[in-house]
Symmetry: C2
Subunit: 121 residues, 2 copies
Amino acid sequence: MTTDSCSRQHDVYDASCPCRQLLDLLANKWSALALGALEDGPRRFGALRDRLDGVSPKVLTATLRRLEEQGLIDRTVYPSVPLHVEYQLTALGRDACAPLAALRQWAVANIDRFPALTGAA
Amino acid sequence: MTTDSCSRQHDVYDASCPCRQLLDLLANKWSALALGALEDGPRRFGALRDRLDGVSPKVLTATLRRLEEQGLIDRTVYPSVPLHVEYQLTALGRDACAPLAALRQWAVANIDRFPALTGAA
DNA sequence: GATCTTAGTTCCCTTTGGGTACTACGATGG
DNA sequence: CCATCGTAGTACCCAAAGGGAACTAAGATC
């Protein structure tokens, strides 16, 4: 496996290949954080908004809807009095977490090698 | 200058932590594709534009500049007559390729599990 | 001197991102 | 009875980023 392109017909480097769209969905700050935030079990909208520090409700909603559309997460509504909505990973979403977790962890582990970001000269 | 409020305890879930900015840089379609396109050696601007099917020169320039600023790639200008510019990974960029390659490969390997993207019902 | 090539830049428009305010719902409580 | 609370969003508006097409520069080549 010297290349990352599928030996059959799929290739992220082909703009018209659906896996390009998939990459666009996953290679996204909020997607990566949202899926990671669900790794430890279901979470509610408010909990996600708090965990994904800095996300606006609008963008969080859009992100979650996109992930739900693609079957990476499930959205469950409990019509209790203060409305209660739970998001959780599907099997597919759990699988997708592995490479995203690796990316997040790489960022944390290597941030010191980025002087321009850490403020050092 | 220093927006780092999470000194030493780095966390991508903290909006003010520099590694959040790093995640934003890496968790991006064009960054992931551009770095991957350089894995096999230096490439010229035109070669990258061709390889990253669908990218506009403006966005490619912006992407490469950002990666260069952060020290992930080097830009070398050969002032020959039809101008010649080569981009190549730095050691840091090569290291960053691993998690990004995993993400690209996951997208290719699992695209069939996304009926909404592949057009299947 | 017209044209080719390379590596962009410029213009303009659309899409996305983002902040703040607001809604619906009924329970709670004064 | 009306005010307030908490949850999960939506509505509105503006700024930033994405994206397409055309254009630029510089010298070589025809």
